[in-house]
């Protein structure tokens, strides 16, 4: 199978999963006690008014009709209107996406930049203090709930030392960059960095710890293999053996595990946003659930589910590039 066919197959599979996701999200409303009318109608609404609201929301149609209506409007990018605010749900939901993407990308950046060197150093200095330090860090890092880590960072760095703001996102990356271009002053960008630093560290620590652990054990595995001995025997420089040969082969399983853990990244973003009042999709979803604003709940879940599937396809492509064997299997 060629790489192209492999990707097409994965994409078709992805489309099915997305369809499943949308169906589950649609079904969720019918598995939930209480009519959506309750979210909209005043407490003392008459029976007549409640019926009119149900008709307006399209709730009196047969189930299958509601389902197909939902599917087709989604295909056109229409998520309905917020029950409580009367604004298009897609505008509200998509407006929250940039903040979450920023946070996830910043956290992943921190994780990759720190963890791979840390794991390599630990493997190079096995049984030395650096190795024990890295092992301890990765063990505690994967075992710490990130909301608690966030609170502890706020406690020490914000409350005690006043180094970072405790919450909020006054400026997105895009406006920050725009300011940099138009005014030439790095102030906007610095302000952005200042606010995103703690949330990004909070979200990124688990992944830093996880990838450090995987890099260390992967490097140790690879360095014990016979191709490494052969490469050394033919006189290749040690750095070349370690980084071109061993590290490259270590990356393959790392990409797999990181791909599997993407859900943790998104879930972690939800709770990190709650801790730092970061105005992303996660805090938005929690608020929408609390007020039972169905179009917003469904819209956020669909966006999260679909982006998760998309990112997984990208990871698969990366995986296929790093290890061509998966394509032929």
């Amino acid at each position: 199978m060629s790489l192209g066919r492999f990707l097409i197959k994965r994409t078709v599979h992805g489309v099915f999963v997305v369809w499943g996701v949308v169906t589950v999200v649609f079904g969720l409303r019918f598995l939930t006690p209480g009519s959506p009318v309750n979210a909209v109608a005043p407490l003392d609404a008459s029976q007549e008014l409640r019926q009119r609201i149900a008709r307006d929301l399209g709730l009196n149609k047969p189930l299958y009709e509601q389902y197909f209506d939902y599917l087709f409007s989604l295909l056109q990018g229409d998520m309905g209107y917020s029950y409580l605010r009367g604004i298009e749900a897609s505008t509200l939901v998509l407006g929250r996406v940039p903040a979450t993407v920023e946070l996830a990308v910043a956290a992943s950046f921190i994780a990759v930049v720190l963890s791979i060197p840390l794991g390599v150093i630990a493997a190079n200095r096995r049984h030395e203090p650096a190795d024990y330090g890295a092992t301890l860090f990765s063990l505690v890092g994967i075992s710490t709930p990130n909301f608690w880590l966030g609170i502890m960072l706020i406690l020490v760095l914000s409350v005690q030392f006043g180094l970072f703001p405790t919450s909020g996102r006054p400026l997105g990356l895009y406006p920050a960059l725009a300011l940099l271009v138009t005014e030439g002053a790095p102030g906007g960008l610095l302000r952005w960095l200042h606010h995103i630093f703690l949330p990004a560290v909070t979200l990124g620590t688990y992944f830093t710890a996880l990838i450090t652990r995987l890099t260390r054990s992967g490097m140790l595995d690879e360095l014990g293999k016979s191709y490494v001995r052969a490469a050394r025997a033919k006189g290749l420089p040690e750095a070349l053996v370690r980084y071109r040969h061993a590290l490259r082969n270590t990356l393959v399983p790392i990409v797999t595990v990181v791909g599997l853990q993407l859900g943790t990244l998104i879930g972690g973003a939800v709770i990190t946003e709650a801790v730092f009042s970061w105005p992303g999709l996660g805090s938005f979803l929690i608020r929408s659930i609390n007020v039972r604003d169905w179009p917003l709940i469904q819209g956020s879940l669909v966006v999260i589910g679909v982006s998760f599937v998309l990112v997984n396809i990208v990871v698969d492509a990366l995986y296929a590039y790093l290890d061509p064997q998966v394509v032929t299997e």
Binding site: F147, L155, V159, V270
Partner: protein, 338 residues
């Protein structure tokens, strides 16, 4: 299922590895803490005492502004003074904003975490393993169909799905009478153990897919083994073969995954309690949320339960490593952590 050789491997790995010893010690410690909570806790964890609120833990002291009004010569004067609040031995880890003992609450919190972690993981194993074994054993169309459905479940980040389900379904709690209180050993302690029922169901629901994947992989490779073919040719039924041949031979990776999942579920439960979605009020996550509001005055309220979570999860992860190293199967890691 567990051969003498397996036991020997487990024992020698435990003797060899200091981390495995640490893990077992932590897990046994947390387990005992959960079981004997009413005996170990110095106070009723729900007992409020506003006179003793926000006491610092031993070794620390805080200052507090107190205002008192005095009636002197027909005039009321309000005196504001700074008072030093010292720790007391009665509350070694201090008290929270309502004067509840932080140590007792931390001990009791182990119950909620372990109950949800273990019962949730068992439920997920039950559903996921059955599902995965059937999919892998029959393979082909059945496998395709079943695993697509599992993929859809795994397409949602577990925390997101859990938040959505609990937020929408409500928080049913199951009250189990505490045996120590019922037997009259520790009168005055809370009479019930509160098990957040919806949380248990939801964590199982969002995690069974991992077990389905692993069990399927095992069944897929076992189904063409000669002993399975032999059993089939002797006329054994599919259910019998799955039960007696396929399942016992796939126990090891499932056991290791289950261990890691208990840790992941404990983290998930604490996150749900932190967000106020679980309905449990004697839970580490819930206490962290409470303490968060008093960060600038009483850091210990949010700090102590968090340390307990880290110790519990470190312990379980180390036990998972120990099992994996001793039994050494090629194991697919599930989603973990929050």
């Amino acid at each position: 299922m567990i051969s003498p050789r397996t036991l020997r491997n487990l024992r020698s790995e435990l003797r060899r590895s200091a981390l495995a010893k640490l893990g077992v010690t932590l897990v046994v410690g947390i387990f005992l803490m959960a079981v004997f909570a009413p005996v170990l806790a110095p106070h009723d964890p729900t007992d409020q005492n506003l006179n003793d609120s926000q006491l610092p833990p031993l070794g620390f002291s805080t200052t507090e502004n107190r205002t008192t009004s005095e009636f002197v010569d027909g005039e009321v004067t309000i005196v504001e003074e700074e008072v030093t609040v010292n720790a007391t031995a009665e509350h070694p880890l201090g008290t929270d904003s309502l004067g509840r003992d932080v140590l007792s609450r931390t001990i009791y919190g182990a119950r909620t975490s372990l109950l949800v972690g273990v019962i949730g993981a068992l439920l997920a194993v039950l559903v996921g393993v059955t599902y995965g074994l059937v999919a892998g054993y029959y393979s082909g169309r059945v496998d395709d169909g079943l695993m697509r459905a599992a993929d859809v479940m795994l397409a949602f980040p577990s925390l997101v799905l859990a938040i959505a389900l609990i937020g929408l379904w409500g928080r049913a709690a199951i009250r189990i009478p505490d045996p120590f209180v019922a037997a009259g050993i520790t009168p005055g302690m809370p009479p019930d153990i509160v098990l957040p029922g919806t949380v248990v169901l939801v964590v199982a629901l969002v995690n069974w897919g991992w077990f389905a994947r692993v069990a399927r992989g095992e069944a897929l490779s076992l189904r063409s083994q000669e002993y399975v073919t032999a059993a089939r040719s002797m006329g054994a039924g599919d259910a019998f073969i799955i039960r007696t041949h396929v399942f016992p031979n796939s126990v090891t990776p499932i056991l290791v995954l289950a261990t890691i999942q208990v840790a992941a579920i404990i983290l998930l439960e604490s996150a749900l309690s932190f967000l106020g979605f679980s309905g449990a009020t004697l839970s580490w996550g819930f206490d962290i949320a409470q303490g968060r509001q008093y960060l600038s005055s009483s850091w210990w309220i949010a700090t102590m339960p968090g340390i307990a979570i880290v110790l519990a999860v470190v312990g379980i992860n180390l036990v998972g490593d120990w099992l994996r190293d001793a039994l050494d199967p090629g194991i697919e890691q599930g989603e973990g952590g929050v």
